[in-house]
């Protein structure tokens, strides 16, 4: 600041002190100084030019920059559209993925103590390997409370999720909930709408979620009302809590019933020992405790109690805490070590998102710079008319910033349009974080960065040209200018081809597994859970009526549904069993007609039959079990199980009753004598339509079971559900593949137009000398085909490696056949030619007079 200005300011300060007081004076002084600093004030040093030179950030100049930028955009409509649309797509993808990651990372943060809550889990040694369980014995709660109590604020024993039928008068719903110890509401910091968190202390009470309370009591006050759980236990509503959000591991918790009700009601406290890992244990560690230290402290809590029990000691159980913050993303254990889990998807999608965004940005820069070559002349003219460099720089920057911000706005629009669809595919309930400053900060910050980087080449490089050279036409971009662009095109196509191959393989794997012979017939097979005694006692009548009305061909009972076997038993003894083998096989208790209902195929021996009284101690094995037990002639072999001796009466063909991707496990079917059937299976008469059959089954069911809601599941639906996860991956992968191709094509288009631009004169001369359009087309397209071929060479081994290791996750998997790779490469080539041809044919068709006239 100049001397006289300082003097003036001092004088003004004295004046202000005398008129408005010292504090205001200081304030005004500071304000004046800020306003007089260079960029805010006019230049104090005058240039004695005839034409005044406005400051390069003068409002008038800014208005001018934007006007010119806008005119440029409108002038090249196709370019601008491609440019903006490409960048917007990339941004939209990044935003969607960002939202998804945000959602994944904020799971369970609803619970205020989420960083102090943990689940007690255990490692057990089974058959030489370490298995990790989240289930615990009943006795653990007491043990943790009394021996290790100082480490914990709360120790909560709970049942797993149960689905009993809740009823109030005539209203009955099957709801998912848990039996938990009274500290649970405090630990989970439930928001109580009615009643208090202490409600569970009364062993005959129940807490309901808001939505469940409404479905039972509408708007009436539910507190103190009576309800029944499974017709067995009467409980009083002691409180209503706000529904837990979908981003909570307890989201499905529709009710909480007291732990003591279950334990005393079933007499578990007398029946169960340390070997019955039927429950779960959650803890909140003490306020000053350290999660790792507590985890280490309780490591041997169970071992101390069971080391002298011969039944438990071989498993060498060790306890540890699995913190709530890690439940969702780090849920997988292998051999006793946490191996991540969903976090891998978070990383994978994060990387994909970053990559797509990067590709889009690079393209954006590519297209902008390719176009800016055209504008070298404009720069020359501007300079000779008197533009200074700072003005040209801000001119180019404002153009790229304008485009970037238009793209940002478009991306937000795109995201809000596609979010419902994305939620559907991803199985989430996400919303754009309009109110989250972080979202805006990231979005706008990123847009600024892209705009600045994309604009930097023309802004800094083009503006440095000497006007004389540019206008004389001696300016030429060097041959090397295209090299980085070519490298980018290769990278982009390598990614696209990899994604195409990946998508094809994921879909083929799904199809391959769907076509797997499952060994029984799913069509028209449905199952009804038998939860209450009413259903059990009404079963015979129901069966007879369904058979006599010809609605069903066969009805039977079984322990598990045909599509979800999974109960295993060990400790069986048979002839020739190797010493020390810890055997484990799937067991399914059934009634005699089960085989006929699901339509299995007997290979050797015979099916169960009511004609033979001895079948109640008969086993039917599947082929895998025969192999597992090493029988040569299985029929007639004796197996000792469940404390009695069974005789093998038949062998059934292998059936897919668990995951369709896994090998079939040895399975044993036996006639139920322990009251262990929980489902009735119904095979609908193929001559009756499904809806007709269903309504008549429902009517019959209601007749015999007036107090139980009618629930059913089709085996078909159940089976399809096993493919959801893979189908989700497939859908997302195909979305990304399409996007990657789109973005790569934009990049290619940019490069093609750049090259065509560079070679206009060459093409003109060739034409004059007699080159045909087709030979010119060949000349221009050849380079790009070579680029895509290089991309193929990179992508194919990469995809082979990646997809090969993905398929390793599945025992039952498709082969990687060569045609998939060939098809993907060919597809990419065709797309390339189509994209490039537009530019090359256009360039080849130009009248040589036009392209050569300039000199």
């Amino acid at each position: 600041m100049e001397d006289e200005l300082l003097g003036d300011l001092l004088e003004m300060y004295a004046y202000w002190v005398s008129t408005v007081g010292p504090s205001k004076a200081r304030w005004r002084y500071a304000l004046a100084v800020i306003r007089l600093i260079r960029p805010f004030s006019g230049t104090t040093v005058k240039q004695s030019t005839e034409y005044p030179q406005p400051f390069f950030l003068h409002p008038v100049m800014i208005r001018n920059y934007i006007k010119i930028a806008f005119r440029n955009l409108v002038k090249n409509k196709v370019y601008s559209f491609i440019n903006v649309a490409g960048l917007a797509t990339g941004m939209a993808v990044a935003m969607l993925i960002g939202l998804w990651i945000w959602d994944e990372l904020s799971v369970n943060t609803y619970h205020q103590n989420h960083d102090r809550i943990a689940q007690v889990m255990q490692h057990q040694i089974i058959n030489g390997g370490i298995e990790t369980w989240d289930s615990q014995a009943l006795q653990l709660g007491h043990e943790l409370h009394h021996t290790y109590g100082s480490n914990f604020k709360h120790v909560v024993m709970t049942s797993g999720a149960v689905f009993p039928i809740l009823s109030v008068g005539d209203r009955k719903f099957a709801k998912g909930g848990r039996f938990m110890e009274p500290a649970a509401p405090d630990m989970l910091t439930l928001t109580m709408l009615k009643g208090t968190r202490a409600g569970l202390r009364d062993p005959n009470s129940i807490l309901l979620s808001e939505s469940v309370a409404r479905s039972f009591f509408d708007d009436a006050d539910p507190i103190g009302k009576l309800m029944k759980i499974d017709n067995d236990w009467a409980v009083k509503v002691a409180g209503v809590y706000k529904d837990l959000p979908p981003g909570s591991s307890f989201a499905e918790l529709a009710f909480i019933a007291p732990w003591d009700l279950l334990i005393k009601g079933e007499g578990y406290d007398k029946k169960l020992g340390w070997g019955n890992n039927w429950f779960q244990t959650f803890v909140q560690i003490a306020d000053r405790a350290d999660m790792n230290k507590v985890s280490a402290a309780i490591r041997l809590a169970k071992w101390e109690r069971v080391k002298n029990l011969t039944s438990e000691a071989p498993f060498r159980a060790e306890l540890f805490l699995h913190p709530m913050n890690r439940w969702h993303l780090y849920g997988d254990f292998r051999n006793g070590v946490n191996v991540g889990g969903r976090i891998q998807f978070v990383w994978m999608y994060g990387i994909i998102g970053a990559f797509v965004l990067l590709l889009a940005c690079i393209n954006f820069m590519n297209l902008s710079t390719a176009r800016s070559e055209k504008r070298a002349k404009e720069v020359g003219i501007r300079k000779s008319v008197g533009s200074v460099r700072s003005q040209l720089i801000s001119q180019f920057y404002s153009e790229s910033l304008l485009v970037a911000f238009v793209a940002f706005a478009l991306a937000i629009l795109l995201v809000s349009l596609t979010l419902p669809l994305f939620n559907d595919v991803a199985g989430k309930k996400m919303a754009i974080q309009w109110a989250n400053p972080l979202f805006w900060l990231a979005g706008i910050g990123f847009t600024l960065l892209t705009g600045l980087i994309a604009g930097s080449y023309p802004a800094l490089y083009l503006s440095s040209f000497a006007p004389v050279k540019v206008l004389k036409g001696t300016f030429k971009a060097g041959r090397l200018a295209a090299v980085p662009r070519k490298a980018l095109v290769v990278i982009q196509f390598a990614v696209s081809i990899t994604l195409i191959i990946g998508t094809i393989i994921v879909f083929r794997q799904i199809q391959h597994t769907k076509n797997r012979p499952i060994g029984f017939s799913r069509a028209g097979l449905l199952s009804i859970p038998m939860k209450t005694d009413e259903v059990r006692s009404g079963y015979e009548a129901l069966r007879n009526e369904l058979l006599s009305t010809r609605t069903a061909v066969e009805v039977s009972q079984s322990e598990t549904q045909a599509t979800s076997a999974g109960i295993t038993n060990g400790g069986l003894r048979w002839r020739g069993k190797p010493e020390g083998m810890q055997d484990e096989q799937v067991t399914v208790a059934v009634t005699h007609e089960f085989g006929k209902t699901i339509d299995w195929e007997i290979k050797v021996g015979r099916d169960f039959s009511r004609a033979f009284g001895t079948d109640s101690s008969g086993f039917i094995l599947n082929e895998e079990a025969v192999k597992y037990m090493g029988f040569k002639a299985p029929v007639g072999e004796q197996i000792n199980a469940f404390g009695r001796t069974y005789t093998v009466i038949g062998v059934v063909k292998n059936m897919v009753m668990e995951s369709p991707y896994n090998p079939i496990r040895p399975t044993i079917f036996y006639i139920d004598t322990f009251n262990r059937t929980f489902y009735s299976n119904i095979r609908i008469n193929p001559n009756v339509s499904a809806s007709e059959a269903l309504s008549s089954i429902e009517a019959t069911f209601r007749k015999y079971n007036p107090n139980t809601p009618f629930e059913y599941k089709f085996a078909d639906d159940d089976y399809d559900a096993k493919f959801r996860a893979e189908e989700r991956i497939g859908k997302l992968a195909s979305c990304f593949a399409v996007l990657a191709i789109l973005i790569s094509c934009l990049g290619l288009f940019g490069l093609a137009s750049f090259v065509a631009q560079q070679r206009t004169k060459e093409i003109g001369i060739r034409k004059v000398l007699g080159a045909s359009v087709s030979s010119l087309w060949q000349l221009l397209s050849k380079d790009f085909v070579a680029l895509v071929l290089i991309a193929c060479l990179i992508a194919i081994p990469l995809a082979y490696y990646l997809m090969g290791s993905w398929l390793q996750n599945y025992t039952y998997r498709v082969n990687l056949s060569w045609w998939i790779f060939a098809a993907a490469g060919l597809g990419a080539l065709v797309v390339t030619l189509l994209t490039v041809s537009y530019q090359s044919i256009k360039a080849a068709l130009i009248n040589p007079v036009k392209s050569l006239r300039a000199e």
Partner: protein, 112 residues
């Protein structure tokens, strides 16, 4: 070329420069406007206005003597140039012309 336009604020500052004669420099002009017109005006505004007037050629400036109250720093003293005088006179004439067109009875009604 169109002649430079004289804005309202510029006119007031220019008039103040004319009124203060040899004593016209930025601080004194600000204080005079502040006192005489009862109009709160910030120092930087006056400063930029003076610069603009100088760009337009309505005032000229030269460095003047220092006084103790400003820490011995020099003053930039402003004087009205011929073009400035012309502009002020013209603007006054335009106003006078418009005043003349208001009928006398109405002026009397206003109490002017």
């Amino acid at each position: 070329m169109k002649r430079a336009f004289l804005g309202e604020l510029e006119e007031i500052v220019l008039l103040t420069v004319a009124a203060l004669q040899e004593l016209a420099y930025c601080a004194s002009i600000t204080q005079t406007i502040d006192q005489e017109m009862g109009r709160s005006i910030s120092f930087p505004t006056v400063h930029t206005t003076l610069q603009r007037l100088e760009e337009k050629g309505f005032v000229a400036s030269h460095m003047g003597g220092a006084t103790a109250e400003r820490g011995g720093r020099q003053k930039r003293l402003f004087t009205v140039t011929a073009a400035g005088q012309q502009a002020l006179i013209e603007s006054r004439q335009v106003r006078a012309h418009l005043w003349d067109q208001i009928p006398t009875p109405i002026l009397q009604l206003w109490g002017a």
